[in-house]
């Protein structure tokens, strides 16, 4: 009897001890965050910053050098085609310094002298003509009496003609000398802002809105100086510069989501064009990169973003690949097992290392092409102590 009791007591003691050892050594369940593998759409996008740009821009510049009046147009004003944009006055003359003034004065005196001489020449020519005419009359009288030769008569006639032409020439010379005098006098004219009162009105080539005003105060500008930039902000496109290796994946027609522009929802757009040549740009992190501009058209409801102007910042997400129905899981669940991707899938309350092959990947989700089915539960951000076969409990 006592032996039975003794062995029962011993048995009890040993089982208790065994239980204690078991508790001490039993691996506890690891608490993990779980998520479910789902079927659904997945889009791979290229995300970049872009700026808006008015599609057709017109820079109105001064057609010739002159004084531009103050431009009253402000950025944002509407202009119609043909409306005056700026008024240009002919360029006033330059100031003369003392030496040039003396030279000009001397030149005027010289010209005055030449005028005098020309007039004198004219008088002389007139006198010569008078004489020739008188001579001709005399000769004609003699001819009527038959007292002179034909040759003498002809000589007298040509003398008159010559004298007449000489008088004309002298007259022209007087005119030329007078004109020279005027020119010399003009050099000494005081500089006047009016410059002769000639004004040119520069008009707007299109209907549009003033985007930028390069000059606002009155100033003298050279020919070709930019005055205002006009455009139609209703026709705005987005320019985003992508890394050249990203631009290769973009084709015209791809859908674009436009965010961070200041409105409450994302706008839709489509890639219109990928520019053929790239350029070098220093990235935000300080390295040089080759970039290519991609032009995007907004095809969403224009009324929703009327406030968008020119040069506004937008974040673009170009969808380069999209599928409607693929098996996806969050990238937080992925890790590498050797060279393969793997996850911990839950089976019977235990974590099982499952190798996967992935298709397309985005920052948030990845496409599973083999290894897991939709509905499977996997561990997100598995702790590094988790091993294949460990018991897991979901975190509350």
């Amino acid at each position: 009897m006592t032996r039975l009791r003794r062995s029962r007591g011993l048995l009890l003691g040993l089982t208790a001890l065994g239980a204690l050892v078991a508790v001490a050594l039993w691996p506890s369940a690891v608490t993990v965050d779980l998520t479910t593998v789902t079927r659904g759409p997945l889009s791979v996008t290229i995300d970049e910053d872009g700026d808006t740009r008015v599609h057709h821009r017109f820079v109105v510049s001064a057609p010739l050098a002159g004084r531009v009046e103050r431009i009253d147009l402000d950025p944002g004003d509407t202009v119609t085609q043909g409306a005056p944009v700026a008024r240009l006055h002919a360029e006033p003359a330059q100031f003369l310094d003392a030496r040039s003034r003396a030279e000009a004065a001397a030149a005027m005196e010289a010209a005055r002298g030449l005028v005098g001489r020309a007039r004198a020449d004219e008088q002389r020519a007139r006198a010569a003509l008078d004489l020739a005419t008188a001579d001709l009359a005399r000769e004609e009288a003699l001819d009527a009496s038959g007292l002179t030769t034909r040759q003498a008569l002809d000589t007298r006639k040509s003398g008159v003609a010559t004298a007449r032409e000489a008088l004309n020439a002298a007259g022209f010379a007087v005119a030329a000398a007078t004109a020279d005098l005027e020119r010399a006098r003009a050099r000494l004219l005081p500089a006047s802002l009016d410059g002769g009162g000639r004004t040119i009105t520069v008009t707007s080539p299109v209907d549009g809105v003033v985007l930028k005003r390069f000059l606002d105060s009155e100033s003298v500008v050279p020919a070709g100086a930019k005055l205002v930039e006009l455009g139609d902000p209703r026709h705005v496109e987005i320019v985003a510069d992508l890394l050249s290796s990203d631009a290769v994946r973009v084709r015209p027609g791809m859908r674009v989501a436009l965010t961070e522009w200041g409105g409450d929802r994302a706008m839709g757009g489509v890639v219109e064009r990928v520019e053929p040549s790239g350029f070098t740009k220093v990235s935000a992190l300080g390295v040089e990169e080759q970039r290519v501009n991609v032009i995007i058209d907004v095809d969403d409801d224009r009324a929703a973003w009327t406030a968008m102007g020119d040069g506004f910042r937008v974040e673009v997400a170009i969808t380069v690949w999209h599928a409607d129905d693929v098996v996806t899981l969050p990238t937080g669940a992925l890790f590498r097992d050797g060279t393969d991707w793997a996850v911990f899938a839950i089976a019977d309350g235990r974590a099982r290392l499952t190798r996967l092959t992935l298709g397309h990947r985005t920052p948030l989700a990845a496409e599973v092409t083999a290894g897991l089915d939709a509905g499977a539960r996997v561990v997100v951000h598995p702790p590094d102590t988790l091993a294949d076969g460990d018991r897991v409990t979901p975190r509350q």
């Binding site: 508790v23 995300d47 951000h381």
Partner: protein
Amino acid sequence: MVRPRLHLRALTRKLLRDVWEMKSQALAIAVVVAAGVTMFVTYLSNFDSLVRTLSRYYERQQFADVFAGATRAPGPLAARIGAIPGVDIVDTRVVADVTLDVTGLDEPANGRLVSLPSPGAPALNRVLLRRGTWPDPARPDDVVASEVFCEAHGFGPGDRVAAIVNGRRRQLTIVGVGISPEYVYSIRPGDLFPDNRRFGVFWMQRAALAAAFDMEGGFNDVALTLAAGASSDDVVARLDRLLEPYGGRGAYTRALQVSAWTIENELTQLRMFGLVTPAIFLSVAAFILHIALTRALALQRGQIAALKALGYGNRTIGWHYVQWALVIAAAGALAGVAGGAWLGAKMADLYNEFFRFPMLDYRVSPGVALWSVLGSLAVAAAGALAAVSRAVAVPPADAMRPDAPARYRPSLIERLGVARRLPQAARMVLRTLERQPVRALLSMLGIAAAGAVLVIGLSFIDVMDVLIDEQFMQAMRQDVTVTFVGPRSADAVHAAARLPGVMAVEPQRVVPVRLRAGARHRTLAIIGLTPDASLQRVVARSGAVIPVPPAGLVLSRVLGDVLGVTPGDSVRVEVLEGARPAFDVPVAALVDDSMGVQAYMARDALHALLREGRTVSSTALKVDPRDLAQLHLTLKALPAVAGVAVREATLRNFRQTMAEHMNLIIAFNVGFAAIIAFGVVYNAARVSLSERSRELASLRVLGFTRDEVGRILLGELAVLTLLSLPVGAVIGYGLGLFIMTIFNNEVYRLPFAITAQSIAWSWLTVVGAAALSSIAVRRRLDRLDLIAVLKSRE
């Protein structure tokens, strides 16, 4: 040849003989005392040595009292700083944090470059050269590197380290190896633990450093010492005012300097442990001593009576018996001092790993040794006094009579009628326990103390596991965190997404600010997070993930306490960079987190407050491990990158450091707990055996087997041990919780955690120790001289 005899007094001879009689019990008690004294000496001698070494180091190397950083201040400002009343010496310097490319390390490391005046030594925070030479003024790329960094990599004078200095790669040549009081504990800002492989301090010539960072004729860091009697608050306030137009980031005193603060904290812990742990051991020792002595004195009744009859006075006899306790305690204390000296030296070596002093002058100061011995003697005397005074007060005539038998009564359980089915041994055990309930209770508490020590010790592992899980698996789930040099435009996020191997990016905006509420303020950084972040999150101690609300600040609860604000209150946020605006921001929530003083806000709200675009200060990246090496290579070459933190490396470093110390801690905990448990059980068993030897011998004579008799004696101990297990667990839990709460400070507030496994291990250890001592007592029982016992009068 007559052997010379020791001329000892009779009583002394009796004392020695008596103590020798109870040598195993005495040994058990002495070992407990030794354990307590060892702890005392280890901790307090280290405390002592550290304090002494520290003060000497600080003084010799002119460690500054006040520190401040700015963006760029002009050189002549130094004179105005010197003119602040209370300022003694001013030392301006150029300090910069750079990325390092260290051969042998894949990921980029961080370096702090501190300027050395050329020529001459710095006025304050002087560097002590350990090896090599000072940099040659003709060679701008020569540096003196910190010793811990060089040791971690095996570098020495002549080795080179590449640094990205302000966007350009420079080869720095290490010409000297040195240490400085400013970096006794060198840790990268933001790390939990020092990582000497990934962070090093380098002292470079000022001319070269200033040229590289456009600081010629200026400075961006200033240190100063205060004159005697100066008010540090006043000086700090004035210094802040002077530096504000130059981007001052808030001055702070030595108490808040990272290295000095950590050491202070360590010292506080040392002192606390040094006083509390020995207290537990010595109380247990006192208790055991009391019980053993009571029994021993009970056995000595006759002798006491005889001595009294012979004429020895009460006091003499009392003193004689107290001396028993003192002898045992003294033996234990002396062993403890020796053990403590040895263990303390080992601990000092351990300190040298983390804290780099020129020489840790470890010494057991006479004061510590003396106090430990005196303390143990006092405690022993206290334990003995009660027993002795009672025993000695009995008049001789009474003493010569045998002691009155104990009360006979059925135990409570028997009276309840439940005991019918219990075996006899069980009934005997119950009655014994009930007869002396106080002693039984105290014995149980003594064993429970062992259990509690184990629970506290093993909980450390569990706390670390919880902390690791919380910090590395919950709060910080990104693989790499890249911090930029200054705030960058939003393009940087896309640029970061294009780095090799990057799978996901979460941008953050970190703004240095001063939070002010009434008269209280704190300088820290607000971290702007994306609202539905999945990589970097705000996690409370309970494990709950706190979502960042769309507006308002989320503060650490300890910060809320310091500032005296609750959710709904407003704090004044003074931005310490850029245009330095100031706003009032409401506090949306307080989070009970474990590490540091943090302030969080939704990124968008922060941008709106600062009236800026979507600027980025750092990014949290999830990286494909296959491309990690390529990423590191790229990051090393990026001029905009100020620092890179790799979670896996940090975690590995953390675990490694912990593992090294964990084994030591566990070993000591188990050892000490076993000592206590063994001591208590052994003594209780021996006392019980001594008291009941006559009964037990009678039973043996009557025919009970050794096993049966053994069960009667040891059953009592088994019941006590079993009862002590849950009690010990509860006491350990409560004490652990209490200790964690005491150690809550602004840098860490660890949650107390203990797993069922740890409790099971602690129970197994206690049961094991109790079992071992039971075996020892059982052997004694088996060898009981039945005849002699039965013949005894008692």
